[in-house]
């Protein structure tokens, strides 16, 4: 018997709409309204400024460890292509997506300053809390997708993760389930080139991460992940497919983590300044700004109020954060939500902590928490 080729109809596309100078490929223009374009830009800038502000707060010891977003703001394009009834299942570097969806910034600050209350999302946001163990959360999008399909809703679930996550078995299992059950899911891989100190090239020998979709007979494409319009277009197409019942899609966003993995990390130990500088030239915000200025949607006169509004918005979020912190957050709330109803053992343990704390207060040995 001769050796035969199995003909598999697979190709991986790479999509880029804006070039580094902000010039658009007209044939790929997603034709967004001026209002949406400005909102995208504004949210990207807000996310950048908020991220910078959090870094300052972290260095001042006012908040704890967090994973900076800087450089990955084009992720907001994916969130913008979704409808409010679509679910978002994030990892831990999706601050931009979260802000777009409506997670209040004071809640983000609350979480990173060590209060469990930061995990509370506003009602009906369809946004899950941050998930830290890399790659472990994609299943949940697949399950939610199944629920949406089962209940006949024309909505989908989008899940975000990084390049490192594609090495976890859970990633492959989630992709396989999504494909087998044809669930309305978008897998959005933010390939930011570095999983802490391990570069993408050492993470996997596959040429692209997008091609990993092909093993599950699912479309996979790569997009310029610093091009918000490309990200938007790819997510919109994937969302359309999902809503039509055509199943899941994997989108690999080629982007770059311009800052550290988390504030506890020092990238100088493992990567060159030149590489960072090279990627700074591809900054997603600068590029989009050039495009909007070229299109005369933005100019200095219109920029000024945006910048001021952003500053005020961050300032008032900080104000609300401090208000919550300075108001009474009861330490006993650590027992809240352990279960729907506290067990007898937990009630006894909570009572024990209450006595300890009131004893300390009486003895004057308890510090007031910041």
């Amino acid at each position: 018997m001769p050796i035969k080729e199995i003909d598999l109809p697979y190709r991986v596309q790479y999509l880029s709409v804006l070039d580094r100078e902000g010039e658009i490929d007209k044939s790929l223009d997603p034709q967004l309204s001026e209002e949406l374009l400005v909102k995208l830009y504004r949210t990207m800038l807000l996310a950048r400024r908020f991220d910078e502000r959090m870094l300052i707060l972290q260095r001042q010891g006012k908040i704890g460890t967090f994973a900076p977003l800087k450089g990955q703001e084009a992720q907001i394009g994916a969130a913008a292509a979704l409808s409010p009834e679509d679910w978002i299942v994030p990892s831990f570097r999706e601050t931009g997506v979260e802000i777009w969806r409506g997670r209040p910034m004071e809640r983000i600050l609350l979480a990173y300053s060590g209060y469990n209350e930061g995990g509370l999302m506003p009602d009906g946001l369809n946004l899950l809390p941050v998930s830290v163990p890399v790659g472990s959360h994609m299943f949940h999008a697949v399950g939610i997708g199944y629920g949406l399909k089962y209940s006949g809703q024309k909505a989908l679930a989008a899940t975000f993760f990084g390049d490192g996550a594609t090495s976890e078995g859970d990633f492959h299992e989630a992709m396989n389930f999504a494909s087998v059950y044809r669930t309305p899911v978008i897998f959005i891989c933010q390939n930011n080139q570095w999983a802490i100190s391990v570069p993408r090239s050492k993470q996997t020998h596959s040429k692209t991460l997008a091609q990993k979709a092909l093993a599950y007979d699912m479309p996979g494409l790569q997009v310029d992940g610093n091009d918000v319009l490309a990200v938007y277009s790819a997510a919109r197409d994937a969302a359309e497919r999902a809503r039509k019942g055509d199943g899941p899609t994997l989108i690999e966003m080629l982007t770059y983590r311009m800052s550290m993995h988390t504030t506890a990390d020092d990238p100088k130990k493992y990567r060159s300044e030149e590489e960072v500088k090279e990627w700074e030239k591809r900054d997603p915000i600068t590029r989009f700004e050039k495009y909007l200025v070229g299109k005369q949607i933005l100019d200095d006169r219109k920029m000024q109020p945006i910048v001021e509004e952003i500053k005020a918005e961050i300032g008032s979020a900080e104000g609300r954060w401090l208000e919550i912190v300075e108001g009474e957050i009861d330490p006993l709330s650590m027992f809240d939500n352990a279960y729907a109803e506290l067990t007898p053992t937990l009630l006894a343990q909570r009572e024990m902590l209450r006595r300890e704390i009131s004893g300390e207060r009486e003895a004057g040995s308890r510090e007031k928490k910041p």
């Binding site: 704890g64 830290v132 999983a195 391990v198 352990a338 937990l346 300890e356 704390i357």
Partner: protein, 326 residues
């Protein structure tokens, strides 16, 4: 003797064993070029190269399973879980295979590997970076489970763990990584797995602990001595599995009273086993119920409240005083 911290002490043990035995291989996420997120493997990649210090792809189950294969083959892998909170991806490999291979193959194959993981609270970290779930491993037959409490015990236990013929889970109390320095002899020193030690001698009450909470226990003992003249005997378990019950049972026979301290949640924690052994081994010597000063049966809260969760000096002293007042 140089005074070094626990990070340096574990690094020293790894370095010494790697120099001595070329079967010893290190692997894990960010342990090579970056030297580990806590710098425990700092400098070892430069010294031994990428064949012996592997920066793996991000996959904890693979790291454990791959190590099992290496160990079966005859290598001596020491793998790192970046945080114990991410080790549950690897739990299946350790439970289903590492712990069972000797029995399954009727002694033909064994898994002499070490799985290292920083654990525990008190360092103001994110979710999944502060738990103390050592009992999952200690409860698994076929695995050994050790937790050092100081630089010197860490160095000695690590050498013993690497040389042990069976899989050893080595939990590193990250609250103690850089908390204090101690003299650690250059020359080789081991500590038998399955043995405990007396960290402080006393006659009034026996306090039993391990890991970071041993430190808090010693602080509490020192305050109790200063404030009320209470002389605590403090036992450092070091191994949760196998558990050395002789030393603490003997101690309780002397003192008649005991408190077990750990940061893990109370129910089904190591304290439960220790109390059961005390009841079995020293029942007629007991003058008061044995108490536990522990964390609560909830997920450790984010850092603003972790000190209220952890069994600090306050909770330990309270338990001691109640036990003495019985």
């Amino acid at each position: 003797m140089p005074k070094i911290n626990m990070v340096q002490a574990i690094n020293m043990a790894l370095l010494q064993e790697m120099e001595k035995d070329d079967r010893v291989i290190l692997l894990g996420e960010d342990i090579g070029v970056n030297g580990g997120v806590f710098r425990v493997t700092d400098g070892l990649y430069d010294k031994f190269g990428p064949q012996r210090v592997l920066d793996t792809p991000l996959a904890e189950s693979a790291i454990a399973g791959f190590s099992i294969g290496m160990a079966i083959f005859g290598l001596r892998p020491v793998c790192e879980m970046q945080f114990s909170g991410f080790s549950y991806f690897a739990f299946h490999q350790m439970e289903a295979h590492a712990s069972r291979m000797r029995g399954r193959s009727q002694g033909r194959y064994s898994v002499p590997m070490v799985l290292r993981a920083p654990y525990g609270g008190g360092v103001r970290a994110l979710e999944h970076h502060s738990e103390s779930r050592e009992i999952y491993w200690a409860h698994t037959p076929g695995l050994k489970m050790v937790i050092p409490s100081s630089p010197r015990t860490a160095r000695a236990l690590m050498i013993s763990a690497i040389r042990d013929p069976d899989p050893v889970i080595f939990y590193e109390p990250k609250a103690l990584y850089r908390a204090f320095r101690e003299e650690v002899p250059e020359e080789e020193e081991t500590f038998p797995i399955g043995s405990s030690r007396i960290a402080l001698e006393g006659d009034d009450i026996t306090l039993i602990s391990y890991g970071a909470s041993l430190r808090w226990t010693l602080e509490a003992a020192s305050e109790l001595q200063a404030e009320d003249g209470i002389k605590c005997e403090v036992i450092d378990l070091l191994s949760l599995s196998p558990l050395d019950d002789e030393l603490f049972i003997e101690s309780v026979k002397k003192t008649g009273r005991a408190v077990v301290v750990h940061e893990a949640g109370c129910s089904y924690g190591a304290g439960a086993e220790v109390v059961a052994r005390i009841v079995q081994g020293a029942f007629l010597y007991l003058e008061a119920p044995v108490r536990r000063a522990t964390g609560f049966d909830i997920v450790i809260p984010l850092y603003q409240r972790e000190q209220d969760y952890l069994p600090g000096v306050r909770r330990i002293k309270g338990a001691v005083r109640e036990t003495l007042a019985f």
